[in-house]
Structure formats: C-alpha cells, structure tokens
C-alpha cells in the first residue's frame, strides 16, 4: 500500500458561491459533515450576478483547473433577478470557451439553495471527478504563473 501521493494530480478548483443560498448551502454541507474534496475553495460573492467572466478567466489564467459558480435557484434570488442575468452571462461565456477549444467540463453552474447541503457536497464531488478526469488546464493557463 505505497501509492505515491505526490504524483497524483490535485486539481485547483475555484467555487463562486452567492452569499444567500449557495454559501449557506456550503455551510450546511459543513455542519452536516458532508465531505467533499479539499481541492475546492470557495469565494463568497453577494450574488451570482457579481461573478464577472473576467474572474473566471483570471482563475484559469492563474492555473485553476475548474471553475464552478453556484447561486440561488432561478426565481429564488435574494436580489430578485441576479441569477437570471448570471445564467445568461455564464451560458454565453461557457459556450465561447467551448468554441475556442477549452473542454466544456471545466466550467459549471449549479443552483444550490441554503437547504441543499447534500446537493452542494454531491455537486462538488461530481465536479472534482470531472476535472480530475480532464486533467491539468493547459489551454488557458498563463505560463508565467506556472514558471514563476
């Protein structure tokens, strides 16, 4: 039983979570002790509509292997309509990334309510698996970041 742990690919995953639903959902996953990979790091934003496509590209530039955005379910946005705008923005952005040849599994949007700790954990499991299967992001990374 001597698997070389260091050789294993550990993806870097950034998760943008809206304060009102998904961040709370992640909190619930925590308080319910529903584990998911430590490769996921959460950034709290007030609403999914605060997530600028620039943030996502920046994450990839800096070496993230996957970026996931979570928000309130459509219709449940704390700010009424934020996630609707976010949904359109992300759909177009993801489509563009796919268009220029970035594997479409590297980005994901999931709606997670404050009550869906299990869904949060499950989603992160799936996403980490997906990114692990895709391997290192090489198409969008700025090499300066890696070399430095």
């Amino acid at each position: 039983m001597s698997i070389e742990k260091n050789e294993e690919f550990r993806p870097k995953i950034v998760a943008f979570c809206c304060n009102w639903c998904s961040y709370a959902g992640a909190d619930l996953a925590g308080s319910s002790r529903m584990s998911y990979s430590a490769d996921v790091k959460i950034i709290r934003v007030p609403c999914s509509c605060r997530v600028n496509p620039m943030f996502i590209l920046r994450a990839f530039e800096r070496g993230a292997d996957g970026v996931i955005m979570c928000g309130c379910h459509p219709g449940d946005c704390h700010y009424t309509s934020g996630n609707f705008y976010a949904r359109r923005r992300m759909t177009l952005l993801f489509s563009m990334l796919d268009y220029i040849g970035v594997e479409s599994g590297r980005t994901r949007v999931e709606w997670v309510s404050a009550a869906e700790g299990a869904k949060f954990s499950q989603t992160m499991h799936e996403f980490v698996d997906k990114i692990t299967s895709l391997g290192k992001n090489v198409r969008l990374e700025d090499l300066r970041c890696r070399n430095l």
Binding site: R62, G63, D142, R144, C145, L148
Partner: protein
Amino acid sequence: MYKIAKENLTALFQKIASEQELYLPVKTAGQTNFGVWTEDAQVDLDTLKTVKSPKDAFFPQSETLYTCIRDGKKLKIEPEALKDQNFVVFGMRGCDVKGVEVLDRVFLVDPLDTFYAARRDHGTIVALACHEPEETCFCKVFGVDAADPSAADVATWIIDGTLYWKALTEKGEALTETVKDLLEEDNSADEIVEKEKASVRDIVEKLPYMHLSLEGWNGDVLMEKFEDPLWDELYKPCLACGTCTFVCPTCQCYDIKDYDAGRNGVQRYRCWDSCMYSDFTMMAHGNNRKSQKERFRQRFMHKLVYYPANNEGMYSCVGCGRCVEKCPASLNIVKVIKAFQKQGGEQ
C-alpha cells in the same frame, strides 16, 4: 558574389538553423510575418512587406527585464539573461535595414540599452532586395535603394529562380563561411544583379509616392510645425489605435509594466507602446498629451522633426509604407506630408 538556386534555399535555411536561430518571413494563417524557421514553417519570400516589420528580432514586442520572486517576506530579484546566442535575420528589405539604423541611434547611444545591444551584437542581417516594389513604397524619399540593400551584413537578390548572395560586412563574411558548401561562386553574377537593380530602379521611378518632397521638414522647424493649425484637421479620422506604430520598423517607444503572477512574484517586462494610445506616457499627475490631436502630432513630429533634430537631420521614417497599407482610417505619413505641402503651395 555567390548564388544558390531558389529550390535549394530550404537546405540553406536548414544549414543556418542548425547552427543558430533563423528568423525569416513565414506565412501563418494567411499573413506573412518574421518568425523562427522550422522544418514545417511556410517560408514566404514573395510577399514584399511583412505585416509587422522585422524589428522584433532586435527589439521584441515584449521582453522580460527581470523577475521578483517572493520568499516569505523577502524578495529576490532575478535579472533576465541577455541574448548570448548568434542568430540570423533573413529577408529584410532595404527599408527595414535602414529602420535598424534608426533604432541603433536610439538604443546604442548612452545610456546603452543592453538588451538591444546584445541582440544587435549577435544578429546577422541578410537583406533581400525588392523585386516588385509597390505603390505604397516611398523608401527612395529617405535615401533607401530598394534595389540594393547595402546597409545589411549580406545582401541578396532573387532573380529568375536564383538567389544571389553578397557578403558586405565581417559578420556577413562569417555567415557566408558557414554556408559556403551550399553556395556557388558566380563571376557573371554582378552583371545580372546590376541589370536587376536598374530594372527595379525603373519601377521605383514610376511609383506615385517615390517623389514625395520633404521640403520644409527638418530639425529646425519645431515651433513652426508644432503650432500649425493644420493638425487640428489632420488628426480627426485617427482612431487612436496602435497599428501604425506596431507595424512601423522605426517606432521605438516602449512601456515598462509589471505582471503579477499571483503569489509567486512579479515579472517586470517591457513592451512596445504607441504614442497614439491615450495612456501613452501617462503619469501620476495625468497625461501630458491630453488630446488625440496632440498624440497624432507627436508621431509625425517625432519622425520628421524631433528625430532629425537629434540625429544630424536623419528622419526616423524609412518609407516602407506599412502604415499606408494598414491604417484603418487610411491616414498615414504621406498624407500628412502632402497636406503640409498643399498648404505651403496655397500660401
């Protein structure tokens, strides 16, 4: 003089590239620019003007100067190594070679630009005479002979499927030594080349821009030209993009910027800048050229007045005509010179 059949050029390039880096016109996605030679590169010696000038070879669009690496609360500075390998730039036109001379007068004077100097030291220029100059060319105006790129290390001509090769400097001789096996000495070559030169010069005479007059443009007309109300009109179509400066073989302005690579450190690099850009020479107090008119004027005043004032009357335009071809608003230095000329005529 040596010669080599055009179909053997690949062998020549292979030979050069086996010993040093070789830059030459390469076609990628429909456009020809100078690039590094590789086995599968599509070499294009027929296109008269590459989109970008070959100045990249000596003054790259961006280059790292040094890197700061963070280690806890300490900082380590690692300067970038200077170029220490020889390389060859093949296929530069006469105007582009003259362009290097313009850059030399900026970067090789005190304070010496060591990055540039290292590249100049290690670079050998193999120029290619023009065969069919075009209507946008006006090199003759600035004293460049399209038919005879004599300021290079090696001058070459392609005539009827044969490349003629003539070393002009020590560096050129040295390069010639390394490829001698592939070249063939030809004593009758001079005659053929002279004939070609004459024919090219004939064409040059017929080109519309080649007789442009630079009367009234020199280092002594600073205030007169600077304050001319004509600028108020000329700049108007300008979109403030950097096309003219980035395709220009003589534009030498650069900006120094930092790239913050996250937690690992910061890379300081320099990159071409354009006097057309709104944040050109932007300082803490603001911008010393606030309007596009001032920025537009700067470019032409620099080429035709400021530079000559500091360089014994030498202009910093070489008449390559790239800006004429590429300006999205169809503005260019020729139109500017002509506008002043027309105004002079009227007065």
